[in-house]
């Protein structure tokens, strides 16, 4: 679509182009939101530093692949035998490392996700609070709702901005390091063995994106001051962990409260991720001796409880956000 150039800047010239009929305003909001957030140096730094975690993950996967390679040769086995005799420790598991590849990878990625949750906390507290709060503060909502943008489109666009950043610090590094791991380990067998892990990483990453995005947007829609949103977000994430610790300490030795694992977002996310990764089943199916270690990986909360709690958070948060935005959109000329 071409437009006649303005020959006289002081006279208004009509435009003969056509507006797009499809509703892609959400995509425009996403792209602009990401661009604006990346203008902040701190945000860029956060996103860049998480690549260090991915790099570390790749290095560990490389070491594991080397071990697999070494234990697959006569020379390698001889070296391991020498190490066993020299250190006088049982390293028989290392000689069968290829058998434990899937479980090792799953444990590794589970630990990496735990580390990445800290980045999620920081990145969301940097990117999310201003998304709606800034529009409220600068009274920018009439600009959106005087254009063919619906409240749903607006909320969707803003939510995807947060989700995109969470994906940058969780999903992308994990999927990237998994692909690198498959490539360096080599073979179609590796690909088939780890395909399920890829899906699990994707689902757990999306779970974190949905939950964190919904909660921070709801908080952002409640006030025009992004600082309150940041405090609120940190409180929602950290206070239950502190409360959990205090309550846990106050219980008599040996006793436990099952619901304690349900009060923090982090624990609920990790419970669902454990369940997705099928850690209990894998461990039981393996010949690994340390059953206790497998138990320690699992929270004493049933996955259905964690899923219910997280769903409740997301549904409530989305309802609050939508209600607030609809309210503002209906009084946009007066905002």
């Amino acid at each position: 679509m071409t437009t006649a150039a303005t020959t006289n800047p002081n006279r208004y010239r009509r435009w003969d182009g056509e507006l797009n009929r499809g509703n892609r305003a959400w995509l425009v909001i996403v792209v602009t939101g990401i661009r604006l957030a990346l203008k902040e140096r701190k945000t860029r730094t956060l996103v860049m530093t998480v690549s260090g975690v991915a790099l570390g993950n790749c290095i560990i996967l490389y070491v594991l692949s080397l071990l697999e390679l070494v234990t697959g040769t006569e020379q390698g086995r001889a070296i391991l035998e020498f190490v066993r005799a020299f250190l006088r420790v049982d390293i028989s598991g290392v000689t069968r490392i290829e058998e434990y590849r899937e479980i090792l990878w799953r444990v590794l990625f589970l630990l990496v996700i735990k580390v990445e949750l800290f980045w999620v906390l920081l990145t969301v507290s940097k990117v999310g609070p201003g998304l709606i709060a800034h529009d409220l503060r600068h009274r920018a909502l009439p600009i959106y709702f005087a254009k063919p943008v619906t409240p749903l489109t607006y909320v969707l666009g803003k939510w995807i901005v947060v989700a995109a950043f969470v994906a940058m610090v969780v999903l992308v590094p994990n999927l990237f390091s998994m692909i690198v791991g498959v490539l360096i380990t080599g073979g179609l067998h590796t690909w088939g063995q780890t395909l399920g892990l890829g899906w699990d990483l994707l689902v757990s990453g999306l779970l974190i994106c949905v939950t964190s995005g919904a909660i921070v947007l709801a908080l952002s829609s409640l006030t025009s001051d992004h600082r309150y949103v940041t405090v609120g977000w940190l409180a929602v994430c950290l206070l239950p962990i502190f409360a959990q610790g205090i309550l846990d300490e106050s219980l008599p030795a040996g006793s436990t409260l099952g619901w304690l694992g349900c009060i923090s977002l982090r624990d609920n996310v990790m419970t669902v991720t454990d369940w997705l990764f099928g850690m209990r089943g894998l461990w039981e199916a393996s010949t690994l001796p340390t059953e206790a270690f497998a138990e320690s990986m699992l929270k004493p909360v049933r996955p259905i409880c964690a899923i219910t709690v997280l769903s409740g958070w997301v549904v409530c948060a989305m309802l609050v956000t939508y209600w607030r935005v609809v309210t503002f959109s209906r009084s946009a000329a007066n905002v």
Partner: protein, 306 residues
């Protein structure tokens, strides 16, 4: 086709009646929307934009139903809100481009059109600066640019000259007049009567959620039937006495002029007779015209009286 029309439109917020029985039919052109605070101007604009649903009644904009065709309406209208409404972090160019994309323009069209409208509103090099540093006048022109980027057929301007210096005001009013000339209908909501009088052909006066008066400004300013301005030189006291004897009331007196009210229409001869009897010279007898301000105040007083 009308620019917009309402039939018995009402809007209630809880116990507050924001609009009551608004019936209007506004032809294309530049129209002023006048009224004190709380008159229902912003609510009317909100209903016309399809942002607020009316409690009862019908409204249409450019022939489109405000209840069922909200998105289609917003494709064809532009809105300049009263407040700043800027998005921090964006430059002037980025802001207008963004709103163009939100309206449904392609990347190329939006970028090209952004520069056209920024040229039009005379935001030169400043367009590349963040909007946070703009002056009030620049912000108002930027908001006009975002409303124009998708080339609407109808513009809603909410207090477009608010807070601007005299030069900036003149520029904005020239732009509005030019837009009217380019075939864009404009609804200017303002409390600055001289601004409305300067650029608008018609005016709608609102108060208490009702339309108090509407029509062409030149018709509202038609000559008064019984109010006259008399240019008289001679014995002023004698003249006033003669006028009183003929039941002509002297309302005001200044600089050799008398403002008088005739007892009834078509009795101008009484003034000429009084001048002849007083022995002075009558050099002018002009019917007075109501100013927009007088019409506005009279409409508000009628509403308060009722």
């Amino acid at each position: 086709m009308t620019a917009f029309a309402c039939a018995n439109l009402t809007k209630r917020y809880g116990s507050i009646q924001a609009l009551q029985g608004v019936t209007l039919s506004v032809e294309p052109g530049v129209v002023g929307l006048l009224g004190p605070n709380g008159a229902g101007k912003s609510t009317l604009i909100s209903v016309l934009l399809g942002q607020t649903l009316a409690t009862s009644g019908e409204a249409s904009v450019l022939g489109l139903d405000t209840r069922r065709q909200q998105r289609a309406i917003r494709r064809r209208v532009g809105f300049v809100p009263e407040n700043d409404c800027l998005i921090p972090g964006l430059s002037g160019t980025g802001y207008v481009y963004y709103t163009g994309r939100l309206a449904g323009m392609s990347h190329g069209d939006s970028m090209q059109r952004t520069h056209e409208v920024l040229d039009y509103v005379a935001l030169d090099e400043a367009r590349y600066r963040p909007t946070e540093g703009y002056s009030t006048g620049m912000k108002q022109r930027l908001k006009l640019a975002q409303a124009l980027v998708h080339d609407p057929d109808l513009l809603f301007l909410d207090e477009p000259t608010n807070g601007m210096d005299p030069q900036g005001r003149q520029t904005m009013l020239s732009l509005i007049a030019d837009l009217g000339g380019a075939g864009i209908s404009v609804l200017v909501s303002s409390h600055l009567l001289p601004d409305v009088q300067r650029v608008c052909e018609r005016v709608v006066i609102m108060g208490g959620g009702e339309v108090l008066s509407s029509g062409r400004i030149d018709e509202m300013n038609k000559p008064h039937a019984t109010l006259y301005r008399v240019d008289y030189s001679g014995d002023r006291i004698a003249m006033k006495r003669e006028l009183q004897q003929r039941s002509v009331t002297v309302l005001d007196e200044a600089n050799g002029r008398l403002d008088v009210e005739l007892p009834q229409e078509g009795t101008q001869a009484k003034v000429m007779e009084a001048a002849r009897q007083a022995g002075g010279r009558l050099s002018g007898l002009h019917p007075k015209r109501s100013s927009l301000e007088e019409t506005f105040m009279a409409a508000l007083q009628r509403q308060r009286g009722s």
